[in-house]
Amino acid sequence: MNKVYDKIFKYSLQMIVIIFCVFPFYYSVMTSLEGSSAVFEPNFFPTEINPKNYNYLLFEHNFPQTILNSLFVATVTVSISITISYFAAWSLSRVNFKGRSMFLFVILAISMFPQIAVLTGMYQLFLNFKDFYFNIFDLRVKGVTSLLWLCFTYTMFNIPFTVWVLTTFMKGVPKEIEEAAIVDGASSFLILRKIFLPIMTPAIFTTAIMAMIAVWNEFLFALTFTATNSDRTITVGIALINGTIEYEVPWGSIMAASVIVTVPLVIITLLLQGRIMSGLTAGSIKG
């Protein structure tokens, strides 16, 4: 008897957690499928399935452009920060130098810095960057100025985080593996490429996804540094979706947009789920 109660208790707890986490998303999916007036009638199941919100966003609005912008910024930012922090993590976890722990501490401190604190300074720098950029390049590439600047600032804010996480992972790789490779005659660079990279792949994926989500969801900088509709990223894009009249909030379109931008993240996470955090060094050392 006790076993049955245990099971009921366990599953009901799980259900509560799942409902709590998934319901908002479910409701936004539902809302996105409803027409403009149906949105304002609370219900648990959609009364009609109407793709008009999606049609509007994908074919009549510049929303696809904002997705591309976000993809561009996320890809550039994540690849640069992961590359830099991979090497930084190696030196911070393996190379002995003076002030190493101080350095790590500073990195941690920087990652606690609120974005808003540097916003005004960043904006001034952005203006200078724009001047500089316009002086060297042709006018045709003007459009990417804001995006490039976003990449730069995101990378700045991401690197402390990715360095910290990757350093922790790399510290977990047994030192003997590296020493065995040194004795085998491998140079540091070769060890990083042939030994650490394959071992660290799951950790790198995990970190990359977290960094990617952070960039994908960023709003403050994106709002500040983009001026035209053609260089909005998704978060700003969603915020600026207009209704047909001034006082209407177009919930249907906003929810459809949210679903569209969430789906890629969910897919990526599901695809890589198996690789994330799966046994870093299984079989290498005793066990």
Partner: protein, 359 residues
């Protein structure tokens, strides 16, 4: 072919002086075992020879060439780690071929050498497996195989068997001895297991807090330890130490008393000792004579009896002095019995108050 000379080497970790003026000559093709308790610096010694640790002063030369500033790959060495340290993402074959590939050997040569090593270690069937699909013993073989394929002049083993279970350890020990005969390479082996040291070594180097306590063949260390540390470290169970006093000295022997119960004349001398000095008498459990005729003897009560089948250990005590005696396998002696323990003079060691042995 590859003598190793270590000359007054010092090593500090921060302020801690871990290796103190150590000098050692290791003969080519010999099997040298470094033993000592944890923290005595034996692994550090090995890592310094490998080039994984810098040396603060002194020189290490391999084959006549000073290697202080050479990176590990130019020292012609291979190392086997306690934790195996296999590359987890590579197959067994790739693990063993990694060093050869870095040396830019031809494909045929790599195949040939890896297969040869696999044959010697009997891991031919596992070449395409990943390390995580292997058992502990198999992994350790792969780690040894990785060392063999490179045909180094010197093999360095850092407690390679300590992660294996007891039965496997004995088996691998025998195989390592065979391997040494087969490869004719210089091998240096670090362990804290004195059975491994006794069975494998041509020479044992006993390290104690960064100093070479004694170097010699296993039996030399067993029969004639230089000091109490070596006497106590080599042999299991430990050598018994009993406080004693010099009663008289003659030209070739020293007469000591055993706690006022009896006296024996040990044919060992120390120039610096004189009558009345406190000394420590050392005797191994297997040399004590239980209930038999011997030079000096004692009576003592038995506190614990350990029957191992082939031998029985008796734990005795007399006036606060613990004593372990070994007797035949199926002993009738029970806890609480009183036994007579004899001290054959020829088997006794004497150590002065600083722990140095009488010669």
């Amino acid at each position: 072919m590859a003598d190793i000379n270590i000359n007054t080497v010092n090593k500090y970790f921060g302020d801690v002086h871990v290796i103190k003026d150590v000098s050692l000559d290791i003969k080519s093709q010999s099997f040298t075992v470094l033993v000592g308790p944890s923290g005595c610096g034996k692994s550090t010694m090995l890592r310094m020879i490998a080039g994984l640790e810098d040396i603060n002063s002194g020189t290490i030369s391999i084959d006549g060439q000073v290697v202080n500033d050479l990176p590990p790959k130019q020292r012609n060495i291979a190392m086997v780690f306690q934790s195996y340290a296999l590359y987890p993402h590579m197959t067994v074959f790739d693990n063993m071929a990694f060093g050869l590939k870095l040396e830019k050997r031809s494909k045929d040569e790599i195949n040939e050498r890896v297969n040869e090593a696999a044959r010697i270690l009997q891991i031919e069937d596992y070449l395409q497996r990943k390390p995580k699909q292997l058992s502990g013993g198999q992994r350790q073989r792969v780690a040894i195989g990785r060392a063999i394929t490179r045909k180094p002049k010197v093999f360095l083993f850092d407690e390679p068997l300590s992660n294996l279970d007891a039965a496997l350890r004995v088996q691998m020990r025998v195989e390592l001895a065979k391997l040494h005969n087969e490869l004719e390479a210089t091998m240096i082996y670090v362990t804290h297991d004195q059975t491994e040291a006794m069975t494998l070594a041509d020479d044992i180097v006993v390290l104690d807090t960064g100093i070479v306590s004694q170097k010699g063949s296993p039996l030399e260390l067993y029969d004639r330890p230089n000091n109490m540390f070596v006497g106590g470290f080599i042999g299991s169970p430990k050598m018994n130490f009993i406080s004693s006093k010099i009663l008289s000295k003659s030209s070739d022997a020293t007469e000591v008393d055993i706690m006022g119960m009896s006296k024996i004349s040990v044919s060992k001398m120390s120039a610096s000792s004189s009558e009345g000095d406190s000394v420590t008498l050392g005797i191994r459990p297997e040399h004590l004579v239980v209930n038999g005729d011997s030079d000096g003897s004692w009576e003592s009560k038995v506190f614990v009896v350990e029957k191992l089948g082939d031998v029985t250990y008796l734990y005795l005590e007399k006036d606060g002095e613990p004593l372990v005696a070994e007797t035949e396998g199926h002993s009738e002696i029970k806890v609480g019995d009183t036994v007579k323990v004899g001290f054959p003079a020829g088997r006794c060691q004497l150590f002065d108050s600083s722990g140095q042995a009488f010669k």
